[in-house]
């Protein structure tokens, strides 16, 4: 077998005319020309590999950068108060008080998860968890935001089983509680499911680490799994090109995960941090060693020298270019001072983790990589990792959107008699997007670590951070692609508002935001318009709510053929709660409490679950949103929770009041008697609107009878609209949900309908 000889810098200088496969690596001709200009020569094949992955859309944010800047600009002083690390690092870090900090981020793994659902989803969890470790934090929870194709499409079961199995396998084996997430089904995601993964970690303030290669002479150490041939070119080829249904299979480009190796790596890294043995640790994700070396060097103050022959390989036949591009999982790169190298090695050996010293920090300002004794890379690392191309892509107002917005749900037939409304109620309860998700969530461990105060199906997940004081955080993520299709600006604001509301319902105070912006091709000017509007909406809304975006991810090219997905900006909100003991669950568990509706209902059925499920309709304008009102609602619920007045609080969103009531009785099997006449009268509307409208800034809460006066007084003092609309009723087999003068449904029937849907398709 003849050994592949890497292209050297000397060779590149001597053979300027050599043709290079830049197009196959995903680079455009002008990008290739730019690389030649930067280097003053043609790139070596290793340099070309590095630039191609690092300049891919996935790694460089070249189409989104000019828009994302506003997250850093639309900030008030209050938004900076708790921000320890903002955008641009591996994950944002938020001060939650008492010397504790939380770091969190959501990221996409969409394309790999369609090709190889199990490994794609599993390594999505693994990748985001490594981001958290690289900040110096212990990962403490994960969440997933999943969007699949139509539930009855034969291919959907393949993707669902793989994705859920992969998340279950990897997350459970890592020992991280899965505390929430989203699962939606819509034909727009058929050939392009969305698999977003969120991880969150906690650390003491003094343990914060940033990954950069500083200090001349410090060692660059690669540790963890060996480098293999999996995921080569995944970053550039997979994430930056949309699927062509006729193309050759791209299976080998998906990485393979080993959660056991990652679990050991977590403990090993935490012991290294605790012992003060590392200057910083950088995770290896997309673009592997190319990314880790160029980012570490760019963020440092000098250069870096790396001997690529020192990389431990799973497959000795890998070429230098493949080693640079490999996305083998469960690897980390540390910067270690020479004095601490022995102690570092001892800890790594204790955990049976394989390690090799690749090189060291230099003062040259260059990233130099040798292989086989020859220089194969010599670049300014900033040109690779930071100063990549920036595009101002053409933007065009969609030709179709005026007609879509004009097609309001107001023309749809509305039921008026109880029997028909009862049937619609149950149809919605059983619809794929509103149905019980325990078929999926029963495969996730939320007990491990013993600090889970709330998890699915509560509005937010909640984790105790400090066992003594009870200090904790709450997290919720939301996105409504249907709203965003109607109006991406409003849709993004609505996603933030819902996550904000969900966190507030738990009793926590929202403090920070992460986002995963899933869109179609940026080369489509209409998609670019959607992206522009969504980012503007999210940025404006964050400023109004005074909670900063701390980090996130953009995923473009989510489309099959020419058909982009609905714009789907997933927004995660992190809240702080002084004592998790005061958390508020989203469903009631006791008989005889009063049920109150907070907020005002309007007829807002455009884009609603009712319009989609009952009429197969999507058109009009999403619900109106007033963020000042949302803030008022949040403050009200937080105050009431603080005074211990609330037995439950549940926000109203998809499916409106009807769905919130269904979830509230189904959760613990405790029924309710409710009446709508006061709502109909005060807000002036019909029964369909009262039940199914998706007006914002609303919630249902339950309050013990003895606290009624206090609670209503609190609402009135704050000027928030409140109506007593029912009482919680008995439990057991006879329990019912009675909507007076409209319909009565046994709780058992709600449960049966809600729980049957997912098993019907997937069991």
């Amino acid at each position: 077998m003849s050994r592949h000889v890497a292209d050297t810098v000397a060779n590149a200088e001597a053979t300027p005319e050599k043709e290079q496969p830049f197009a196959a690596l995903g680079l455009k001709p002008d990008e290739y020309a730019k690389i030649r200009e930067i280097l003053g020569r043609r790139p070596t094949s290793g340099e070309l590999a590095m630039y191609s992955v690092m300049w891919s859309e996935h790694c460089s944010y070249k189409s989104s950068k000019i828009y994302l800047r506003q997250f850093g600009q639309k900030v008030t002083p209050k938004m900076r108060e708790r921000l320890m690390v903002g955008m641009g690092e591996n994950a944002g870090v938020v001060d939650i008080g008492e010397g504790w900090a939380v770091t969190f981020k959501v990221e996409s793994h969409n394309h790999p998860s369609y090709i190889e659902p199990f490994q794609g989803a599993a390594t999505g969890v693994g990748g985001i968890v490594r981001d958290i470790i690289s900040m110096g934090a212990r990962p403490v929870a994960v969440m997933d935001q999943l969007r699949f194709g139509a539930i009855d499409n034969p291919d959907t079961a393949r993707v669902v089983h793989g994705v859920v199995g992969g998340i279950s396998f990897y997350g459970n084996c890592l020992g991280l509680p899965n505390i929430g997430g989203e699962t939606y089904f819509d034909a727009v995601y058929q050939g392009n499911p969305l698999v977003n993964a969120l991880a969150v970690g906690v650390l003491r303030h003094e343990d914060l680490h940033l990954a950069n290669a500083s200090g001349v002479g410090n060692k660059i150490v690669l540790f963890g799994a060996r480098t293999g041939g999996d995921g080569i070119g995944g970053a550039s080829i997979l994430a930056s090109d949309s699927f062509d249904s006729t193309g050759p299979t791209k299976r080998p480009a998906v990485q393979v995960g080993d959660p056991f190796a990652e679990k050991v790596l977590i403990e090993c890294c935490l012991e290294l941090y605790a012992g003060g043995l590392v200057e910083g640790i950088q995770d290896l994700g997309a673009a592997g060693i190319s990314c880790a070396t160029s980012e570490l060097a760019s963020n440092g103050d000098g250069g870096m020298f790396v001997e690529l022959d020192n990389v431990l390989l799973r497959d000795p036949t890998l070429t230098a270019e493949e080693i640079l591009m490999s996305e083998s999982q469960e690897r980390m790169m540390a910067v270690v001072t020479p004095e601490k190298l022995d102690a570092f090695m001892a800890v790594v050996a204790k955990w049976d983790v394989e390690t090799s010293v690749l090189g060291e920090v230099t003062g040259t300002g260059r990233l130099v990589i040798h292989h086989g004794g020859e220089e194969i890379v010599n670049v300014d690392p900033r040109t690779v990792a930071i100063d990549g191309p920036v595009y101002e892509r053409p933007v065009a107002y969609p030709t179709w959107i005026d007609a879509l917005q004009a097609d309001s749900a107001s023309s749809l037939a509305r039921a008026t008699d109880g029997a028909a409304l009862r049937e619609q109620f149950l149809t919605l309860v059983a619809s794929p997007n509103l149905a019980d998700k325990s078929f999926i969530t029963d495969q996730y461990d939320y007990y491990v670590m013993g600090n889970t105060a709330l998890s699915f199906p509560d509005d937010a997940g909640m984790i105790r951070v400090d066992e003594e004081s009870g200090l904790g955080f709450a997290l919720a993520t939301d996105a409504n692609g249907r709203y965003c299709q109607l109006d991406p600006y409003e849709g993004a604001r609505l996603a933030l508002a819902e996550a904000f509301r969900n966190v507030s319902m738990s009793g926590a105070v929202p403090a920070a935001v992460t986002d995963c912006l899933n869109f179609g091709s940026p080369e489509n000017p209409e998609v670019m318009w959607q992206f522009q509007r969504a980012v503007e909406g999210l940025g404006d809304a964050c400023m109004q709510l005074e909670i900063p975006v701390t980090g996130g991810n953009v995923s473009f090219y989510n489309q099959t053929g020419d058909q982009p997905i609905h714009p789907t900006p997933v927004v995660g909100v992190l809240g702080i709660i002084d004592d998790v003991e005061r958390r508020v669950p989203s469903a009631w568990q006791d008989e005889g409490n009063n049920i109150y509706l907070l907020g005002v209902t309007s007829t807002e059925l455009d884009g609603s679950a009712w319009a989609g499920t009952i009429h197969g309709h999507l058109g009009g304008r999403p619900p109106q949103l007033n963020l000042e009102t949302e803030k008022k609602l949040a403050h009200l619920v937080q105050s009431a929770a603080l005074e211990g007045l609330l037995m439950s609080a549940h926000d109203l969103s998809d499916g409106g009041l009807a769905q919130a009531l269904a979830e509230s009785v189904a959760r613990f099997g405790v029924g309710a008697r409710v009446w709508l006449n006061d709502i109909l009268e005060r807000d002036g509307m019909d029964l369909t609107s009262a039940l199914f409208s998706e007006s914002t800034a609303r919630a249902i809460v339950t309050v013990p009878r003895e606290d009624d006066v206090k609670f209503v007084g609190l609402c009135e003092a704050r000027g928030y609209p409140v109506l007593r609309m029912g009482v919680t009723d008995g439990h057991g087999p006879e329990a019912t949900l009675t909507v007076q003068d409209v319909f009565t449904v046994p709780v058992a029937e709600i449960l049966e309908r809600s729980r049957a849907t997912l098993p019907h398709y997937f069991d």
């Binding site: 279950s168 459970n172 080993d258 056991f260 679990k263 049976d352 461990d445 491990v448 105060a453």
Partner: protein, 230 residues
Amino acid sequence: MRIGVITFPGSLDDRDAQRAIRLAGAEPVALWHGEHDLKKVDAIVLPGGFSYGDYLRCGAIASHSPIMAEVIDAANKGLPVLGICNGFQMLVEAHLLPGGLIRNDHGRFVRRDQMIRVENNRTDWTSAFDENEEIVIPLKNGEGGYIADEATLDRLEGDGLVTFRYVGMNPNGSLNDIAGISNERGNVVGLMPHPEHAVERGFGPNTNKAMRSGMDGLRFFTSVIARVLV
């Protein structure tokens, strides 16, 4: 009163077990798989997790760890040993308990609040329960189906060594609904469900009274404390 919790590579519930021991009133002692030192503990917990990534068979590699030689020796001399989930799998692989654990019959990982019946309250780890008391503790596993040959099952049933049995539903296809067993002496107990996740109000399984308020698991640990202090 010191109770050791062994950490293997891939152990996940080791810190939870330590917390449970602390809440029960004893001192948790961290033990390391690669050592031979049991640090003179009065009892040992083999925690849940995926030791060695469950490679080969669940618990198989861990059962050959250096420290397991000491655990086997001590268990045979009467030291109380509790194996939870992956720890139960290790006890079986180490032949301290009979039978085996295989993939759940439905093929999926399952996490649920599980009712079990304590059928033998004469072991070191169950004396604080009433005989046939029904309790709820979390269950979470992918390979929790208990199997044994017929002669072994007959012996377990005949000698009253079936310590815990699933009630209401069998979550993983275990033969005879077996959730956990003990040895003849009653010092070695293994079960698939997780008592260490039901020890603290607010973080345990749901009960009819309040969400996450179940604390039935705490009595596993108070049982062994009472046993050792006698």
